[in-house]
């Protein structure tokens, strides 16, 4: 066993330098050079303020914005420094009670039956940036009323924000909530024509 100590030590040092420092640092340099936006987290900037990352979901509670899915990341949800799913099993009383409460809240906010499943289930990361087109459609009336703009205008924004699967195959039909809400804010105010 002693004969193996020197090779083990030297190889550990060499491979730590190669795979633990040179490799990640070279990849960092390359990524920063070639894909600077993605390498730094695909941040969305409006009026010189970072408003979030295009990839990472965030919480919206106001009636003026589209709401995301429920989230179990952190205590209040959408904590992007503490990703997590709910880890509740399908037979969990806690799950059924949570869903029951969310369904009631959505109905109160103008959603119609049946509620799409993504609207009341927590994602795996707690940071899902997307919602389904059905869930978005159910929120149109609420947002149009809150912003006092025609429903058709909101519906058109939803349609424009809907991402289609590539070649009809890879990726689901989905809507990025932060992008859609930014588009809402950028839309002309009521009466502007």
């Amino acid at each position: 066993m002693l004969a193996h100590v020197r090779p083990a030590l030297v190889m550990m040092v060499l491979f730590t330098l190669l795979t633990g420092l040179a490799y990640p640092l070279a990849m960092t340099g390359l990524a920063q050079l070639v894909f600077p936006s993605a390498a730094n987290g695909s941040l969305m900037i409006r009026a010189n303020t970072i408003v979030g990352s295009e990839l990472v979901g965030q919480s919206f509670t106001s009636d003026r914005y589209f709401w995301p899915r429920p989230s179990a990341a952190g205590d209040k949800g959408y904590n992007a420094a503490s990703s997590s799913g709910s880890n509740l099993g399908p037979l969990s009383k806690k799950l059924i009670e949570r869903v029951n409460g969310d369904v009631a809240a959505l109905h109160k906010a103008g959603a119609t039956s049946p509620i799409p499943v993504d609207a009341v289930t927590a994602s795996a990361s707690g940071l899902d940036p997307h919602i389904s087109p059905t869930f978005a459609a159910q929120q149109v009336a609420r947002i149009a009323a809150a912003r006092k703009i025609p429903e058709a205008q909101v519906r058109e924004l939803v349609e424009r924000a809907t991402e289609q699967p590539f070649l009809g195959l890879f990726g689901e039909r989905r809507i990025n909530v932060l992008r859609l809400n930014l588009a809402l804010d950028a839309a002309p105010p009521p009466g502007a024509g």
Partner: protein
């Protein structure tokens, strides 16, 4: 289940098989010291490494020396990682200022990464400094995978050689696995991940102000480089707590397909390497066929169970046509979420893009059972191949009993000593899994960690020990495993599952290498035809079923029937 879903699954698996075939042949050249297109660049580096470490690369080792070198190297890796974690507060590259890791968690994590398990009892973005993530965890991602490849190659040589006393040189095999296989692949995959949007920065986190004026802290880091080797090396330890479900580890359908492709690639390729090195590619294909037949069947079960959705939610007025979405991300879809669940547990990867604890009862039983089968479908890099070879030995033995002949595999007579060692290896897994699970199910302190009561609670415990012993690392993550009891016992389970399994396997390899190759005769049972493949699949299922069915019946199976009876916990 939809045809489009199945088409996605078929395309990803097709891409894996084509690339694995080429990679497998390339690896055969590497480990037979033949020239490859990378040799001119890498040979000087390789030689410089050997010189610095005083390694005589031309000198081969017996199975025992090979195994001892491997153990020494892995023991040192464990110690270095443990020290890095304990001392991270004093070391550089700690932008978030994390404190040193607690002793039990550091033991568990160091064991976890040294054994290629990558079980994570911690949340990456809230616990580990960038230095630990890079110089500690990423390094072990490479080296534990390289160790697995080296061992698989050593076992392969036992069948390729006749009357041989040596199995190769551990230092050379491990170095070649890293330099010629894992590192170049990681560079390619890391760049592709970065292209799909995975971050790669040394910054710690950024502060965002949302449209509603709230603050959101977004954790960042050198994710792409770690993600690449984590998938390729079937390590599975994520940069973030949510692992490959986190949008930064897996931002879209492309990164998701790449993620599945890269975790299946090397383990699949090794079956082609095996066929080439033993001089009969049909032997490798037979193992491959058995692996993929079971893998696809498992995918069908998970896909069906998850796409059917949760009937209890339908009663609450929810439209469940999109399937079970608790613990799933919209961008991946049900088909590739199901394939991910199966691939990560058929392999010993353990990366997740779906929270397994929220899978439907039968959907969750599949990853659990796949891990209990010993991670051979197609298994961890290296460990899957030698695990499968052990089952192949059992299969020829059982076939031999049926017709009353001395069993042979690839021209090597399988005798009492090999069978005893094979049974020893096979029995270690259920002993550790069921033993620790039974103890945990009786200890009140251990039961406090459960997230779900009822049968799912038992499944959480079983899953944890199956995952640790099989060196998988995925979790029914509701279980609060960061306690002294779980950190310690799971650490021991990982240690036994990896090394107590490897030693008998290497002893078998040593015994078989020394035997003369018997020429094929009319009485030889062919180990490349459909009959053998069928028997092999049968032995895998019967072995797993006999060992674990009673435990599974009390967990996911009873849960499935309770769900349809409308019972909640």
């Amino acid at each position: 289940m939809t045809p489009v879903g199945w088409l996605q699954i078929a395309l990803v698996l097709g891409a894996v098989l084509v690339c694995a075939w080429q990679l497998g042949l390339y690896m055969a050249r590497v480990f037979q010291a033949e020239k490859t297109f990378l040799t001119p660049v890498l040979l000087p580096v390789e030689r410089a490494f050997y010189n610095a470490a005083g390694i005589r690369f031309e000198k081969e080792q017996s199975w025992l020396t090979y195994t001892l070198a491997m153990l020494a190297f892995n023991a040192l890796g464990f110690l270095v990682l443990y020290a890095l974690m304990r001392l991270q507060a004093l070391l550089p590259l700690n932008p978030q200022g994390f404190a040193g890791v607690a002793p039990d968690l550091a033991f568990n994590t160091a064991m976890s990464f040294a054994t290629n398990t990558n079980w994570q009892a911690y949340g990456g973005e809230t616990t580990m400094s960038h230095l630990v993530q890079m110089a500690g965890l990423t390094v072990q991602n490479f080296l534990s995978a390289a160790t697995g490849i080296a061992l698989a190659i050593a076992v392969t040589r036992a069948f390729a050689r006749s009357s041989a006393q040596t199995l190769g040189n551990f230092w050379v095999d491990m170095t070649c696995a890293t330099l010629y296989v894992l590192l170049p692949l990681s560079v390619l995959v890391a760049i592709t991940f970065a292209l799909t949007g995975v971050p790669q920065t040394l910054a710690g986190s950024v502060e965002a102000t949302t449209l509603e004026g709230a603050k959101q802290t977004i954790a960042l880091g050198p994710v792409a480089s770690q993600e690449a080797i984590k998938q390729l090396g079937t390590n599975g330890g994520g940069f973030f707590n949510a692992n490959a479900a986190h949008p930064f580890e897996n931002p879209n359908a492309w990164s998701n397909a790449l993620s599945i492709w890269s975790m299946l690639l090397v383990a699949t390729a090794l079956t082609f390497t095996f066929g080439r090195m033993v001089g009969d590619r049909r032997q490798g294909l037979a193992l491959l066929f058995a692996m993929y037949a079971l893998l696809i069947a498992a995918t069908a079960v998970v896909y069906w169970a998850e796409a059917s959705g949760n009937p209890l939610l339908a009663k609450e007025g929810v439209d469940i046509a999109a399937g079970n979405m608790e613990g799933k991300e919209i961008r991946f879809g049900q088909a590739l979420s199901a394939l991910y669940v199966v691939a990560t547990t058929g392999l010993s990867c353990g990366a997740v893009n779906t929270m397994h604890n929220s899978l439907m009862p039968l959907g969750g039983s599949v990853p659990l059972f796949l891990m209990q089968l010993g991670e051979i479908l197609p298994g961890g890099v290296g460990s899957g191949l030698y695990g499968m070879i052990v089952v192949a030995l059992l299969t020829v033995f059982i076939a031999g009993l049926m017709v009353g002949r001395t069993p042979e595999y690839l021209g090597k007579k399988i005798e009492a000593r090999e069978m005893k060692l094979a049974m020893l290896a096979v029995l270690i897994l259920p002993l550790v899994i069921l033993g620790f699970s039974a103890a945990s199910a009786m200890l009140p302190k251990a039961l406090e960690s459960l997230a779900n009561p009822g049968p799912r609670g038992l499944t959480e415990i079983l899953y944890a020990y199956s995952s640790a012993t099989g060196n998988n690392g995925s979790a029914f993550a509701g279980l609060s495993a960061n306690t002294t009891w779980y950190n310690t016992t799971l650490g021991i389970a990982m240690l036994l599952g990896r090394f107590a399994y490897i030693v008998p396997v290497m002893a078998i390899a040593g015994a078989l290498a020394a035997k003369k190759k018997v020429p094929v005769s009319p009485g030889t049972f062919p180990t490349h035809g459909p009959l053998f493949i069928g028997l092999l699949i049968g032995v895998i299922l019967i072995l797993g079923g006999l060992q674990y069915f009673p435990a599974l019946a009390l967990g996911p199976i009873v849960e499935h029937f309770l769900m349809h009876a409308g019972k909640t916990f």
